[in-house]
């Protein structure tokens, strides 16, 4: 069975078709991993169009919902086959800061790229990041802040993560007042200037870990 139709259903956010085509693929004996890859391909495509300002967030969300529809059907088979997301990412808005739209967008993009995303919410104190990192053993930790007066909380969080011996996880920071220079200054591993680039940044961090975008 051709999986291109399923990829297309994700790209266009056709939830009903995504569910039906996923079931058809399973019934036709297609490997769960291959089906998953076709879903990710669809999300990658719309993610790239989003990055080029060709589509808006709602169109991304519709695609993400279509993928979710497929995943409800596919996930039990993936679990049974021992196939799990390869990477886990923690994300949260740092202590004192309540802004979460940017953080939510990054979480959505990471989920679409098949990261297992643990969203800690907003106003997250360093000790909660540390506890969650110990529990979930993430490869990526994303810190968000929108206020100049909460930017120092990013440093506190990074310091506590490192003090707790959790420096294996790569730390990505982002938010309106954040810069690459600030990322360098506080010891973050990378800076994502916007939600669209967060996937590329995270993938590079868990892949070669040595590219131009890294801090």
């Amino acid at each position: 069975m051709e999986l291109t139709q399923l990829t297309e259903a994700i790209k266009t956010g056709n939830r009903k078709a995504a569910g039906l085509l996923t079931q058809e693929a399973i019934d036709a004996g297609v490997e769960p991993k291959a089906i998953l890859n076709s879903l990710i391909e669809g999300m990658d495509d719309i993610g790239a169009r989003f990055q080029k300002n060709e589509v808006f967030v709602p169109e991304m969300l519709i695609a993400a919902r279509a993928m979710k529809e497929s995943m409800v059907i596919l996930e039990p088979l993936l679990v049974a086959a021992g196939i799990r997301p390869e990477f886990t990412a923690l994300i949260g808005t740092v202590q004192g800061d309540l802004h979460d739209i940017g953080k939510n967008l990054v979480a959505m993009m990471w989920k679409g790229a098949n990261f297992n995303v643990i969203d800690l919410g907003t106003n997250v104190p360093p000790e909660r990041f540390v506890a969650a990192a110990r529990e979930h053993n993430p490869q990526i930790i994303g810190l968000s802040a929108l206020l100049t007066t909460t930017m120092p909380s990013m440093k506190s969080t990074i310091d506590e993560l490192k003090a707790a011996g959790l420096s294996n996880a790569k730390i990505v920071i982002g938010g309106a007042p954040i810069t690459q220079a600030f990322a360098n200054q506080i010891g973050a591993d990378a800076f994502a200037p916007d939600a669209a680039s967060a996937v590329e940044v995270a993938r590079k961090l868990v892949g070669s870990q040595s590219t131009a975008v890294l801090a």
């Binding site: 808006f56 709602p58 004192g96 106003n123 100049t148 120092p152």
Partner: protein
């Protein structure tokens, strides 16, 4: 000072550079605020401004700890008093505590320590001499954030005209009571967390600008409730919907535009000035620029802006109308939000709001009026709309037309559609 009497006054707001606010940093925090206010007042005196509004928009720890908020408020009040005595500088102090109720999720909107501390800061600052009380309140934001990301106009209307209106009634009844008891003014609120969020998302190309413009129009219904509860203006600066509220209430309004570029990008830099009573810089960090510390530099920019407005006004109705025309025309062809915030559009939106039987229908009417204004201007070629946004005109129209006539039917359908775990329905009388 007479606010709303024809003379436009500068309204200055400033904030800290990157630093923590806690018990141990409070001496540094106080020193920063003292530096900001003394520099700005010196420049205001040198430039002979006709008067000045200074807004102190606290940072969340200062509302959570009213003693800290009051320590800074008192510094600012003392400096304003000294500038009055030494230089004859007239001023008004606007106090804007944070709406810290959202520090817990889901927010507890009507009780608890966060509420108590916020109300205490309003009360103590009013007693100390804050003549204007404002806030950027957040009731309904729990649903609005997600609705913006989905561009779901029905959910936006639920957030603003059902949740937002109910919370505003509760909150502003309290603020108006505090103002009355302390013989100061309940000034006004803003849809900052709602319509400004939409505007910024649109500027980042995350959602369509036409959608953000419709959200702005709808947001006026929520902000209006402050005035229904006793506020008298000037409405808070970042409420770009204030021009619509001015058309309804006649109260003076603070506005911000090009001179708030230090805080954020907006597509309404000139048109926002067309009906202002105070002209604001929104907020600027205390960082060093070539001309001095940033709050001082922005004081100067505001001073020259209002000089021009007041000179046009003093030159007579024709000159004032000419300046207003230029402020409007330079923006409205380039962005749908600018178009709907032009005074002529604002009057049409205001008419649709006051003609509606309730807040819900007013929100739908405001949205539809804004959409029609945008569509007509696009069709006659007077407004640029990006090609990828054009389809959204029909999408939003269809969504608005599908909304039920009856508010209770609408609420029932929305309670099924939105994520009800993000808010406490009892805080919005939705149980």
């Amino acid at each position: 000072m007479v606010l709303g009497g024809g003379l436009v006054y500068p309204e200055l707001n400033f904030t800290l550079p990157t630093m923590f606010v806690n018990g141990s940093t409070m001496p540094d925090v106080a020193a920063q605020y003292r530096e900001m206010i003394t520099g700005a007042l010196k420049r205001a005196s040198e430039l002979e401004v006709p008067g000045l509004v200074v807004e102190f928009e606290t940072l969340p720890p200062m509302t959570e700890n009213p003693d800290w908020g009051m320590e800074i408020a008192q510094i600012l009040l003392d400096e304003l008093h000294e500038a009055s005595v030494k230089h004859g500088l007239k001023s008004v102090f606007r106090m804007t505590p944070n709406d810290t109720r959202e520090m817990v999720r889901p927010p507890v909107m009507r009780s608890g320590e966060l509420w108590d501390n916020m109300i205490e800061l309003f009360d103590r600052s009013a007693a100390a001499g804050a003549e204007l009380l404002s806030i950027e309140s957040v009731g309904g934001k729990e649903v609005n954030d997600e609705a913006l990301q989905s561009c779901d106009i029905g959910q936006v209307i639920f957030a603003l005209s059902v949740m937002g209106v109910r919370d505003m009634r509760f909150l502003w009844t309290h603020i108006a009571e505090i103002a009355e008891r302390n013989h100061v003014h309940a000034a006004g609120d803003t849809a900052c967390g709602f319509a400004n969020t939409a505007m910024v998302l649109a500027e980042q190309k995350l959602i369509p600008r036409v959608f953000a413009a419709v959200v702005r129009s709808v947001s006026a219904v929520r902000s209006l409730v402050a005035y229904e509860c006793g506020a008298v203006g000037p409405g808070k600066d970042c409420g770009y919907e204030n021009v619509i509220l001015k058309a309804i209430t006649g109260f003076p309004m603070a506005m911000e535009g090009k001179t708030a570029a230090c805080a954020h990008l907006s597509p309404v830099g000139n048109v926002a000035a067309a009906a202002c009573d105070t002209w604001s810089n929104e907020s600027v960090q205390n960082v060093k620029l070539l001309g001095g510390m940033a709050p001082t530099c922005y004081m100067e920019q505001l001073a020259y802006d209002v000089r021009l407005f007041n000179e046009a006004n003093a030159d007579g109705p024709e000159a004032a109308a000419m300046l207003k025309k230029w402020l409007v025309r330079s923006d409205i062809g380039l962005d749908p939000q600018a178009l709907i915030l032009a005074p002529a559009s604002a009057v049409k939106i205001a008419e649709s709001i006051v003609s509606a039987p309730n807040h819900y229908r007013a929100a739908v009417a405001a949205g539809m009026t804004a959409l029609n204004l945008i569509t007509d201007a696009y069709n006659d070629g007077s407004l640029k709309v990006a090609p990828r946004e054009v389809c959204w005109l029909d999408t939003i129209k269809e969504a608005l037309e599908e909304l039920p006539e009856d508010e209770s039917t609408f609420i029932a359908s929305m309670m099924d559609a939105v994520n009800t775990t993000t808010f406490r329905p009892q805080d919005y009388d939705l149980t």
